[in-house]
Symmetry: C2
Subunit: 198 residues, 2 copies
DNA sequence: CCTTATTTAATACATTTGTATTAAATAATA
DNA sequence: TATTATTTAATACAAATGTATTAAATAAGG
């Protein structure tokens, strides 16, 4: 019998190498050879886990999606916290506030550009969009249930607005970290969430 | 003497062909050959206008920048309009509300992904960011001067917020036109701007 | 120790790419 | 019309790429 290798873990390692190449040199440089080299594998070896480049890229994109969605769902409400503080912290989770999140967001941005020209990726893109949307809807809804939110807010439009703010700021900070700093990003989010409350 | 050709116009035609290839097939497929074919030129001919691919891509990106900035600046204030309506219409100008604007925005998104890995493009990216930021600052400022805006708004944070909303919604609509429709995008913007006013 | 299913490594090949070169075509001026 | 600066077209070439093939290496079970 052959060497026992955890296939799934190995695939994840390769996907993370793919991320690294994309972040360092851009998605158009993410060739099979370069990814294999970055992962410390031969091309032939890599092809035992991914039989084509597009399969590899798709898996790498799905891994970002999984991580983001996992992060969104892992937060559970604790009763004894200030709700506004709690939800603010929750939204911070999906902003590029540390290296790990910045990498994921950069990779996601690179993939998003691909979604525009590869409709087979739309489903995945929409899945993340819908999850994020639902997560942010909960944020607004919690504030409303607890009577923290101002009266007369339109839930649906508020969710659209918050979602756009989150992704827009994330993009601005990645593209422009010195003009739009991490701190400005955080302050702007706090400002916005406060503006929704009484 | 040779055929007289307006160099600048020809370069713009080539850049627009570049946009078309990027929108149709993605920036990684924007090879010199394909762009030349799309523009109805030979490769050698194209190279008389752009001596390298990166020069061509840069010019194409600058053309997007020029068009957007021109659009931002071409609006002049007219006294006899409802100010809120006027500024709302102004912000619509930078949303992907028609085919021309969608193309520009898609191309810009593709280039933005490149900015992350090519620091020589940052300057141009920042220029557009700064222009947009200034334009949106004027929007908020006008509302404040005319006493339409609520009291106690923080100008700087409001600009960050509006800017993020604009770019975030634009991205959401491009990636997800059926889930986040053009109409939702417009309604959300109107809702936001109204929320800033008394 | 030997067998064997599995993994790895090396190499090959056709295609696409950016760029360069060179000859032909073009059209305004003398 | 003849000249000539400029543009266009065609071809070439090295490098990189996705994919396929085949032999070697590996390690668990008999």
């Amino acid at each position: 019998m052959p060497k026992i290798i955890d296939h799934h873990k190995r695939k994840i390692r390769i996907a993370e190498a793919t991320w690294k190449v994309i972040v360092d040199e851009g998605i158009e440089k993410a060739s099979v050879r370069k990814i294999a080299q970055t992962a410390g594998l031969s091309v032939g070896s890599l092809r035992h886990y991914f039989s084509s480049q597009s399969e590899l890229l798709r898996f790498s994109m799905e891994l970002v999606s999984d991580r983001v969605i996992q992060r969104l769902k892992s937060r559970e409400f604790s009763e004894d916290r200030d709700p506004l503080e709690f939800v603010t912290e929750g939204v911070f989770e999906v902003l590029p506030i540390d290296e790990e999140r910045k990498i994921e967001m950069e990779v996601w941005l690179a993939f998003s550009a691909k979604v525009l020209v590869d409709s087979t990726l739309s489903e995945l893109s929409n899945k993340v969009y819908d999850n994020m949307h639902q997560g942010l809807k909960n944020v607004i809804h919690v504030l409303q249930l607890l009577q923290y939110a101002k009266d007369g807010l339109c839930l649906e439009l508020e969710v659209n607005r918050l979602h756009a703010i989150v992704d827009g700021m994330a993009m601005h900070h990645l593209l422009n970290p010195e003009h739009f700093t991490e701190d400005e990003m955080k302050q702007t989010l706090i400002y916005h969430l406060q503006s929704l409350c009484k």
